[in-house]
Amino acid sequence: MESIAGNTVKTKAFKEKANKILGISPEDARLSKSYLTVAFIALLLGGFLGLLQGLNRAGMLELPTWLNYYQVLTAHGLLLVVVLSAFFTIGYFYAGLSHTLGGLLPKVRKMAWIGFWMKMFGFVLAVIPILMNEASVMYTFYPPMAASPIFYIGLVFIVLGIWMCSFGAFINVASWRKANPGQHIPILSFFATGVFVLLFFGSLPVAIEVFMIIPWAFGWVETINVMVARTLFWAFGHTLVNIWYMTAISAWYVIVPKIIDGHRWSDLLTRIVVIALVIMNITGGFHHQIVDPGISESVKYMHVFMSLAIGFPSLMTAYAMFAVFERTARKKGGKGLIGWFKKMPWGDVRFLAPFIAMAAFIPAGAGGIVQSTNQLNQVVHNTMWVVGHFHLTLGMTVVMTFFGISYWLVPYLSKRVLTPQINKLGIVQTIVWTLGMVMMSFAMHWAGLLGSPRRTSYTTYNDNATALGWDPYLFFLAIGGTLLMIGVLMQVYAVFNMMFFAPKGVTEFPIADEEEGAAPTPKWTERWGLWIVLMLALVAMAYVIPLVGFLVDAPPGSPPFKTW
Amino acid sequence: MMLKNRTALSSLLVLLFGVVLFYIGTDGFQAYTAETARVNQLMEDKPQFPDVTLEDNKARKYTFSEFEGKYVFITFLYTACGTVCPELEMNMFGVYDRLPEEYIGKDIQFLSISFDPDRDDPETLDSYRKMFKSDGETWRMARITDKDELNELLDRFGVTVIPDNNGNFAHNSAFYLVNPQGRLIDVMDYKRIEEAAEQVTSILDDEAGDEK
């Protein structure tokens, strides 16, 4: 028994050593690099479109007729919320799987490539109608607004591509588990499993929605049930942003402690946070429908609880992060309540970016809790406040963590190093981005409280006094947007520099170890099937009520409309 | 050995408890829904029809004692109802139609009572009755304007009425038969027209026989 256990430890050690010397295999690296390349090109394009919007919204730029505000907005949303985030997440986690599980299986690598091209194909299909102004329906594409069917077919391919990558990840993890009985999945792969489980199950509802829409958009079916479509969309829409958030916290839990030279937080609690996020995530999406008709107040109240429940693992995360900082700083001699503050490597962009991202999640998360309660939601629903909120959560918390990851992941993949110059560029970029986001999201939150609606091109509503009162904030928004564009350019430059031009060398994949003498994590954390069943049960519980109501007691449906 | 017997014994006790529980809970395996239980209870209690004031389809106002000395065949409805009520009234006509003509109006009165007095004014009731070939005399439709009286009646006869959020009501439906002394003597399934008609006819026949 002991010798066998010793043996696995030995092979594990050998694998780790081999990984350290050889790094990731060139094939796996190419896969992840391709994903990251697409992600950052999407950032560049999406950022540029965002700037156009910001300037237009502030009344400083008139858009040409062949590229109107709503086209730009649809493309901006799709590029950043779907393409940037999905491609980065998949590239990052596939690199993580390859690193922690000793390489991808050839079959899995092939699946990831097929997924890559399916998504690219789907994306091109979706973009063509947007450019032709045949699909100005926003990232949310609520029926009965109907885009060109090509747009929805494109979405189907994107979803299929994502499923391909999810299954690839499951196969790789399962095969590792078979080869390493009795061991826990390495923590980063555990996060990856959670993320891919959610990507698969979270995109199921939207897949159903799109299959409802396609025959209707073609005109084969006359009407559509708008509330069912909307509900299915939000079961997916909110899960998606929480998946990106979960990707970001994987770096906080696993990577950041290593960068500050510390240890990971309790392995058990980390895994519990992952499990909790997987189980409770999909049901949280319903708070987007708090002011919708057709759903009773008590059902909405139940959903407020389900949305707020997600706050609990996030609050656990907040504690864990600061505890790690404090513990590490104490070891280094930091004293007092905030002694940790002085002992952190502030000059290291790999730490600074994710740290600011974490700090941003404090107001961002608080805003989220505020928004998902009934009455407060009614104040801010569909106003600029919401836009400010998700720029703070996605644009700052998630994307800045992604930026921080890129400063070691890209050199690691391309077998190059992070030079001091690029590090400095990164620090400046982080500061520019922080200033831009703070300014922009503050302006958005405030304008939203005053009533300025989201998703609306520049308008004064016939010089209405109230609407004119929003203009100063919108001006701030434009300045923030400009700063962000500078940040985008710097970031994209840094990424491609590190990918192709930085000096050759060895970069480590920073994975923190557990505290010495930590209690072993119980085995039940690995029962993924059980977590999935619990997740499904909760989803059924949450969605059976509104969906049965909308389907059984359905009003006559709506025909398609093209209103742009 | 001893141990095995004990678990067997406790299993038996638990099983016995289960049988008792189900027996009590379902009135001796009779009533699995509250509706059956309610009907069974009503047949046992034979509650008195409270002395409420009715306003009928001709806007006449009188108390229930108007029908003293006659059997009264009752249903509860609201005219805005799109589901059960039209069926209920159609079936009521079915019973009306099957009864021997000599009893109608003389020994038995038909009465449809609305539990939505706000919307069902005499005018509405009068146009509604025509859809079911009610003559408005031997088969009247009436509302009870006093909410307290209405609730008293609904409560006594076990009629549950829950408003939903769309201006409709969920309610249970049945045929109710009140005897000449004003006591509820039978609650019948409104879907079994033949059965109800036969039942009422035989009661009326008995009564007629007694008189002769």
Partner: protein, 153 residues
């Protein structure tokens, strides 16, 4: 588990429950629940269905008004609403085409108006002034033009 962690978890849990209690109290005890009317309507026959066959404003009581309103690209019908200060207005809304939003700046009126559903929301207008009514759900090329005003005298 550290003591501090337990305290933190308890606080977190307490905060979430606190939010639930406040929300629940406001929604159910104070009647401040979100607009959740459940009536259905045929979205293609709005013009023929009461009360939307006659959109407009009616006085239904002392300082109480009912506004029956349809939303369509890119306007509100009726377009001009005038009420005296201190009156409570009950809005009954539905959409004739796509999804719209109904928001009145500087008030708590904010509701989704879906085709196929009747939405209801009430508000007491205390202060005189001109209130901006706008559609806050993207509804097409003229979405930024979809606005009207409520004049409170």
């Amino acid at each position: 588990m550290h003591r501090s962690e337990k305290v933190w978890l308890l606080l977190s849990f307490g905060m979430i429950i606190g939010f639930m209690l406040i929300t629940g109290y406001q929604a159910f005890a104070l009647g401040m629940g979100p607009p959740s009317h459940e009536e259905r309507i045929d979205p293609q026959k709005v013009d023929e269905t009461a009360p939307f066959d006659r959109p407009g404003i009616t006085k239904i009581g002392e300082n109480e008004y009912e506004v029956v309103m349809t939303l369509q690209i890119f306007s509100f019908t009726p377009n001009q609403i005038e009420v005296p200060a201190g009156s409570t207005v009950h809005f009954t809304l539905t959409s004739k085409d796509v999804v719209h939003g109904f928001q009145v700046a500087d008030t708590n009126i904010n509701a989704m108006v879906m085709p196929g559903y009747v939405q209801k929301i009430s508000q007491k207008f205390e202060k005189p002034g001109e209130y901006l009514v706008l559609c806050n759900e993207y509804c097409g090329a003229g979405h930024q033009m979809m606005a009207t005003t409520i004049t409170v005298k």
